[in-house]
Symmetry: C2
Subunit: 229 residues, 2 copies
Amino acid sequence: MRHSYKFPRPALTVDCVVFGFDDAKLKILLIQRGLEPFKGRWALPGGFAHIDESLDAAARRELQEETSLQDVFLEQLYTFGALDRDPRGRVVSVAYYALVDLAGHPAIGATDADAAAWFPLPKLPPLAFDHGRIVAKAVERLRAKVRYEPLGFELLPGKFALSQLQTLYEAVTQSSIDKRNFRKKILAMDVLTPLNEFAAQGAHRPAQLFRFNHAKYVALKKGGFNFEL
Amino acid sequence: MRHSYKFPRPALTVDCVVFGFDDAKLKILLIQRGLEPFKGRWALPGGFAHIDESLDAAARRELQEETSLQDVFLEQLYTFGALDRDPRGRVVSVAYYALVDLAGHPAIGATDADAAAWFPLPKLPPLAFDHGRIVAKAVERLRAKVRYEPLGFELLPGKFALSQLQTLYEAVTQSSIDKRNFRKKILAMDVLTPLNEFAAQGAHRPAQLFRFNHAKYVALKKGGFNFEL
DNA sequence: TCAAAAGTGTTCTTGATACACCCATGC
DNA sequence: GCATGGGTGTATCAAGAACACTTTTGA
């Protein structure tokens, strides 16, 4: 440790890629910047980490402050430290990604003047800083991880139909899945609790609703089971 | 962005978990600290990030300075930002993990007074700071990633026998693999180039040597192929 | 000639894939 | 009664798992 603790330090920020799912589309929550640099541009919610809070706490605080989101799935993604990523000087950003039930948070207003809006993934506006890179990394992570961890449920309401789940997986992994095989596989895992409730939302047979049984998943996992789709 | 760029900042360090493989054992390279705090304790190579270098560059520089390692596989692991992880104050550490051919770097002396040594994974000494946590995370990542990315070859010499590769996989994933099935599968992937060289190292039949064909792997991957063991 | 690791195929089992029709509802 | 999405079973195919003996070398 040859370099002093007192040398000039990079600034530290946290940024959050918030994923939501709606209408067969994967979406991302962006806020419009009210200040320079990149004033008026869309950007990831985030900001400077305080010296007296952990990184996770900083991410949750910024999410709460800028998007009113609370108690969501949040996981560290990657830390971006290129020299020129912020025109104000040296700023290192610890990026997080969050998964939220978009139906439960339809139009989220920020507490300050900045606008917030959901954008479908393929149609993102130009982003501030290196946030485009961060989003790309988050999408890559989500695509990979959704296959072997039960993350998808975080993007759905607590009660959901199997077809919703399937549509979600098809959207995230950009594939199309056979309906019968999908249902067979997910039900065989035995982590979904069937409910005696049905969602009637159109001129067709109502779909049975299910709930993800988190406790059972944890128990199965302890016994060597691996979620995989 | 409501919090000033001028607020007190956490210090930023990088730490490296260096993996090596030798003698059927997975090992980690540690250095013994010459300074307080934790003077005399074993720790991960690392140190403060300079303001004028990227995080990756900082990790490579520290690795070079403290262990003389250069041109090794290096990838960002996770960023550790708990409030109390460093007794000197608020220090956030961006952790990396490196994979090196241990046979090519047997006894690595640090450039300064600190000692450096390889420790087999299950027998690590008590570590400074939260480095135990960092190692645990690195091991978890390596175990998972070695199954679907060709990382294992980074831990072996350029020319290796199939039995070495198998032993490596058995050590990393803590499983035992059937010899015939292993060879069938890895050879079927068609990413190993058989050499007309043989390693005679004992009173038994010499093993044919192979080389990992990185270019071919990249090409296959582009065509949708996925490495998996 | 013995010990020690290298090398080699086949069978069986399991999981993945492909595929088509009836059901319940609202309009 | 028709349009819409919900719900169901079987046959085929491919990949993974299990398994034992011969070969080459040095001591």
